[in-house]
């Protein structure tokens, strides 16, 4: 039996999206996320797509999974009871943070509350110097007492972070070994030298603690999922999407779940990258809106920007600096609490606010009829006629329009003196403005001109809001790909298998110790290969090595590619020349006669990327007949209009329609604004163009 089918499952805060692909055929489904046991939603969705496709579990050759469970646990503080063990005298580092105000003029800012309270931060006598010499011997006799306190406190996860462990890990490893013997089996232990071996104690400790905090939850979920899939006779290997855009094995994911935060959004960015390549788009704004959040990511020449630092759970007005920093490979994007489930309220100053809190899947928006009482964005979209209840989630989730209207009237309309659809119009206008602002700020921070971008809209919510968002930020073209409603999951199927390992090791480029570097890269490559190979099978992996270099005396580095070969002493000078070339490109000058050094090394082992097909404008075809008509509110015109409803799959490549219109499909609907034309391109994507 040929195991040719591929399965992707993306668990978001509200929906679980499932995509099954077999050759050119694709089936997809959307079910509500089962927060208490997320694997149940996956199984339910999987049954749906199997039924639709007629395939059997045994036909599936590979499963790829991404989830925001780790992110949500961190945001909602629903991780394990975690303890932190650190060098004596330093238990407050994870709370003190950068000791810096992230806004000069706002005197009321809050700093992030650490995941481990002071009462669960324990110290142990030990101290290594920067060069690894022992200043204070590790007090092994104290570990027993520590274990008793950890047990007494009912701690389920332990993070260990010692000073200078990024380079010298033996004290951390020793304490872990001792604790493993003393603690119950179900208590997991993470050490900073494995989770994020990089200099700067706050960020390393913070990453380690966050990893420990979500590990019990994530590990138990992942293994439960594996077992349930096995019970269904689905024995294909299971890979996890990571925040950096690569795939890894279940075992690695269960050890380093912090690398899974933002895995769903990373899948979306990969989908956007593929569409950018297909449609030859130099500048792209990808707009991914789900049930809980909206994600905005910028791509240049088909590549999203990457970073090695990410901030989780920005607690104060979504402001940079107010979250928990983690050092992991990530795709650079901005995420705000604006999804279909985001709750709308009226504040003390009689202003409509939307989010960041979400009704999630339970109880969900009021219209789900699952006990929700506060109106959400989906309720507003329903009240405005933008969602056709017959099509929502393939018609599998019944919607109560009257209840949505009542809740909007009660919580918004009656407090602002608005009637009919106007409270709903206010809610969508605000959520669209919030997203536009986030997109503008993000583009500006990254030096992009947002108006020159093409927007790629996907996720269940984005096609409903894309035209209006495009108008607000000045974008002229919007692409809604096939399967937009489950875009991130489709992105998973396009992701390379990849794993990146990063390690701090200071090496002079003048007096280049090639032997040390070769050894380091060899070890890191072997470690990364061990992670990747089970997923690769027989395909040969590609190897990328990056050295983060700087002039001696600086504190920040630039990424310099390292040739993949056995390095010789003379390669130091070559690396320096490359470093200075890039440095000059970025900063405009070199610093003559100044020594340079490499600080951090990263090795990425990945499968090769496949070149996508090019899209073209299809020959003109007549527009299909609309299936029906609906009254919708058009914000650009500021009034209600009659809009024909087209079934997406009635529209063949080359057919074109004028807004206002609705193009419906199972997992989402594309609202074609009054100022837009919609055309289907050769790949079946909806191309929305603004008439000026």
């Amino acid at each position: 039996m040929a195991k040719t089918a591929k399965l992707a499952a993306d668990i978001g805060g509200t929906f679980t999206d499932i995509v099954l692909e077999d050759g050119a055929k694709r089936w997809s489904g959307k079910v509500l996320t089962t927060t208490h046991a997320p694997e149940l939603g996956v199984i339910e969705g999987l049954r749906q797509v199997l039924d639709a496709s007629g395939l059997k579990p045994q036909d599936i050759g590979v499963c790829i999974h991404g989830t925001t469970l780790a992110t949500n646990a961190l945001i909602e503080r629903k991780g394990a009871r975690t303890a932190f063990i650190t060098t004596q005298g330093f238990r407050d580092i994870i709370e003190q943070g950068y000791e810096k105000r992230f806004d000069h003029y706002d005197l009321m800012i809050d700093r992030p509350v650490p995941l481990v309270p002071r009462t669960l931060r324990f110290e142990i006598a030990e101290r290594l110097a920067a060069d690894g010499s022992v200043l204070v011997k590790l007090d092994e006799s104290a570990v027993k007492g520590l274990s008793q306190r950890i047990i007494a406190e009912d701690v389920k996860s332990v993070a260990i972070g010692f000073l200078h462990a990024y380079a010298h890990d033996h004290h951390e490893k020793r304490v872990r070994a001792l604790l493993t013997r003393l603690l119950p089996k179900d208590v997991t232990i993470c050490i900073s030298s494995e989770v994020a071996p990089e200099i700067r104690e706050y960020e390393r400790f913070s990453t380690t603690v966050a990893n420990a905090y979500v590990r019990p939850l994530m590990a138990s979920y992942l293994y439960r999922l594996r077992d349930q899939l096995k019970e269904m006779k689905l024995s294909a290997p299971l890979f996890l999407m990571m925040s950096g855009g690569g795939l890894t094995t279940l075992e690695t994911a269960a050890r380093f779940p912090i690398r899974l935060v933002e895995s769903g959004p990373a899948g979306g960015a990969i989908l956007a990258a593929q569409i950018a390549a297909e449609c030859a788009l130099p500048r792209v704004l990808s707009f991914d809106m789900g049930g809980t959040t909206a994600k905005i990511c910028l791509l240049t020449n088909g590549e999203p920007e990457r970073a090695r630092k990410f901030e989780i759970a920005r607690a104060y007005r979504d402001m940079k600096g107010s979250g928990i920093p983690v050092r992991i490979p990530v795709i650079e994007m901005v995420e705000i609490g604006a999804g279909g489930g985001s709750i709308a309220r009226v504040d003390k100053l009689s202003r409509i606010t939307v989010g960041p809190d979400s009704a999630g899947s339970t109880p969900g928006p009021v219209c789900y009829g699952r006990g929700g009482t506060e109106p959400a964005v989906t309720d507003a979209n329903l009240a405005l006629g933008k969602i056709d209840p017959a099509y929502f989630a393939g018609g599998k989730i019944p919607l109560d329009e009257a209840a949505a209207l009542r809740a909007l009237q009660k919580n918004i309309g009656s407090r602002l003196g608005l009637k009919d659809f106007w409270p709903a119009a206010g809610v969508t206008e605000i959520v669209e403005e919030n997203m536009a602002n986030a997109a503008r700020v993000h583009a500006i921070e990254r030096g992009h001109d947002i108006a020159s971008c093409t927007m790629i809209a996907f996720g269940g919510g984005a096609p409903l809001h894309a035209c209006r968002l495009a108008e607000k930020v000045g974008v002229n073209t919007v692409i809604v790909p096939k399967g937009a409603g489950v875009g991130s999951a489709i992105g998973f199927l396009r992701a390379p298998v990849a794993y990146e390992i990063t390690k701090s090791a200071v090496v002079s480029l003048e007096d280049f110790n090639a032997e040390r570097v070769n050894k380091l890269i060899a070890t890191m490559t072997a470690d990364a290969r061990a992670v990747v190979e089970p997923a690769l099978g027989k395909t040969r992996p590609t190897l990328h090595v990056i050295a983060d270099c700087r002039y001696v005396g600086q504190g920040h580095e630039i990424r310099v590619p390292v040739p993949v070969k056995k390095l010789a002493r003379t390669d130091g000078a070559k690396l320096k020349a490359e470093f200075e070339r890039i440095y000059e490109q970025v900063y405009g000058l070199r610093i003559p006669n100044q020594e340079a050094e490499a600080i951090t090394w990263s090795v990425t082992v990945s499968s090769k990327a496949v070149k996508p097909k090019r899209a073209a404008r299809a020959a003109k075809k007549a527009a299909p007949k609309p299936r029906t008509k609906r009254t919708i509110y058009d914000p650009a015109l500021g009034k209600q209009v009659q809009a024909p409803v087209y079934w997406r799959f009635d529209m063949k490549p080359g057919s074109s329609i004028k807004g206002p219109a609705i193009i419906a499909e199972d997992e989402t609907s594309t609202i074609v604004g009054a100022n837009f034309n919609a055309t289907i391109n050769s790949l079946g994507y909806i191309v929305l163009e603004r008439s000026r």
């Binding site: 309270p117 002039y551 920040h556």
Partner: protein
């Protein structure tokens, strides 16, 4: 949409872009700087100016003492170098404390930007370099001549060619020439980065001049500030703060006058200048006094010459807030960073119940040196030479409705420097760095807690510490609305002795430096504090049971 509305949106976009450009300028500086105080703690600033030298936008990255002083620093260059004499590729430099940012350690770099042959803007940036000669990062000099080398307004790059002679003078007068050279080049390249981006922006928007945009920005900002000032009650309020001083205690007097839509702070009656380097030149005084006012009155109005010009200042020459040459000024932030609390003292009377309690004030700059040349040579025979900086940060005052932030710089905008970064630079190590119990002033909203830091050498050798900026050791941060003061600071040795003054002190081999930072004052009466909050503080060890009984009437 009407034409006017579209034009308004376009202006808004260009304004945002300008802020993005200066932010990139600042990030470039942060990422290329050599001095840890710049690259880790963020002691820098960056801004863009119109051709008349008016600051129109500043980066959020940076610190108020730099930003607000730089607002006026650019125009001073024109006396020596009229705009008409400037050429593309020119860069100008100074570290004049009175005409720059208040002490010799900050080089101000100014770069004119040309579009074709037309001067369209200036970029300026500044950062704290590691050493400028003289007595070093110490307040013990009695005149600015002893504090290091002053570079008057000069051209450091002429039409693209570096002025190597000038550079060699600067470097010959520094103990850390490599780092200083790196930082000067970083400043130059940061401005170049800004200039390139501005050029791109002007091309994209088809602009031949920034004048209309600058006018709009300054007018809108001034309008915002004026409206905020108009909302204040009219009247006069005075506040007097006792300060530790260096050779003697000092008095900082302030009077806030709100009248006819104008706001003025009058520091008349404040103590005469100190004999030692803690005096705050008027430009720096202006920076922090206005920062304090703006943070309370108009926090969200953009910071530029338009909004800054709405705040008037009166000082008496020859005082600690307006020293005249050649008064020493190296540790000028010891006075300067008290000014926010000083104006808060007035504002709290004008706007009762809304102004936070006093904070730890000046950041403690931990300037640590090897002891070479300061002790008998045999004691340092085998020791490594070094000069490093770290930060000691205390607590911020309790706020109406929230506790004060623990161990965070205020009003300075800098942050700490990671322990691991400092330890890779020198043979010192931190023995501890943790919260200090009972340091936050009691109150309904507790003052921010401070910390204890202990530092020793890994070598069998002494080291030196400059205590120039260790303040609030005598006078604590006061509480507000019935809140209690925060703890005073303490600086001493592990062996038990106190550091006697703000001078340079030796820590003997085997001994250690022990610092306890000042805590923030409390806000509101302590007995009104939520009992759960009191218990949480006790459980966390931030408040001891004994102190809770005494201060909060805790009965557990």
């Amino acid at each position: 949409m009407s034409k006017d509305a579209l034009a308004a949106i376009r202006t808004q976009v260009m304004w945002n872009r300008l802020i993005a450009v200066v932010e990139e300028q600042a990030q470039s500086l942060l990422r290329t700087a050599f001095g840890t105080i710049t690259r880790e703690a963020g002691d820098l600033s960056a801004g863009v100016y119109d051709p008349q030298g008016n600051m129109i936008a500043q980066a959020m990255t940076g610190t108020p003492g730099h930003v607000n002083t730089m607002a006026t620093a650019v125009a001073h260059f024109f006396k020596h170098f009229p705009q008409s004499t400037m050429k593309p590729g020119d860069v100008f430099i100074t570290n004049d404390p009175w005409l720059g940012t208040g002490h010799l350690f900050d080089y101000v770099m100014m770069t004119p930007v040309f579009l074709g042959k037309k001067l369209v803007a200036f970029f300026a940036s500044t950062c704290h370099v590691i050493d400028v000669g003289g007595v070093g990062m110490s307040a013990k000099a009695n005149s600015s001549f002893e504090e290091g080398t002053l570079i008057p307004h000069s051209r450091v790059r002429k039409e693209g060619k570096l002025n190597e002679e000038l550079l060699s003078i600067i470097l010959a007068n520094s103990r850390s020439p490599v780092e200083v050279r790196g930082d000067i080049l970083s400043l130059i390249s940061a401005n170049d980065t800004g200039a390139r981006r501005l050029g791109d922006m002007m091309t994209e928007f088809g602009l031949t001049s920034l004048d209309a945009l600058a006018k709009h920005i300054l007018r809108q900002s001034e309008k915002g500030a004026r409206e905020a000032i108009k909302a204040l009650p009219e009247g006069e309020w005075s506040y007097e703060m006792p300060l530790d001083g260096y050779e003697r205690e000092l008095t900082l007097k302030s009077k806030l006058i709100v009248k006819n839509g104008k706001i003025t702070v009058d520091f008349s009656g404040t103590s005469p200048a100190s004999l030692f380097g803690i005096n705050s030149p008027r430009t720096y005084t202006h920076a922090y006094a206005v920062f304090g006012l703006k943070a309370v009155i108009a926090p969200h109005v953009p910071n530029n010459i338009g909004s800054l010009s709405c705040f008037d200042l009166i000082t008496e020459p020859g005082t600690i807030v307006d020293p005249i040459r050649p008064s020493p000024v190296t540790a000028r932030h010891v006075i300067g960073q008290m000014l926010a609390d000083s104006v808060f003292g007035c504002l709290a009377q004008a706007l009762p119940g809304t102004v936070q309690a006093e904070s730890a004030g000046p950041i403690w700059i931990l300037s640590l040196y090897s002891a070479h040349g300061r002790v008998a040579p045999e004691l340092t025979a085998k020791a490594k030479r070094f000069a490093v900086i770290n930060m000691g940060l205390g607590g911020i005052g309790g706020r109406p409705g929230k506790d004060g932030l623990a161990t965070t710089a205020f009003p300075s905008g800098v942050g700490t420097i990671p322990v691991e970064v400092t330890e890779t630079q020198c043979p010192l190590y931190f023995k501890r760095k943790h919260y200090l119990a009972d340091s936050g002033g009691a109150g309904q909203w507790r003052g921010g807690v401070s910390q204890r830091i202990e530092i020793a050498s890994t070598e069998d050798a002494p080291f030196a510490i400059s205590a120039a900026t260790f303040d609030r050791i005598i006078h604590p941060a006061q509480g507000r609305e019935g809140g209690k003061p925060g703890c005073v600071g303490a600086a001493g040795r592990g062996s038990g002795t106190k550091l006697p003054d703000k001078g340079m002190h030796i820590i003997d081999a085997g001994d250690s430096l022990v610092l306890e930072l000042p805590g923030g004052g409390g806000f509101g009466k302590p007995h009104k504090r939520d009992r759960t909050a009191v218990e949480t503080d006790i459980a966390a060890g931030l408040v001891t049971v004994a102190a809770a009984r005494k201060d909060y009437g805790y009965e557990g």
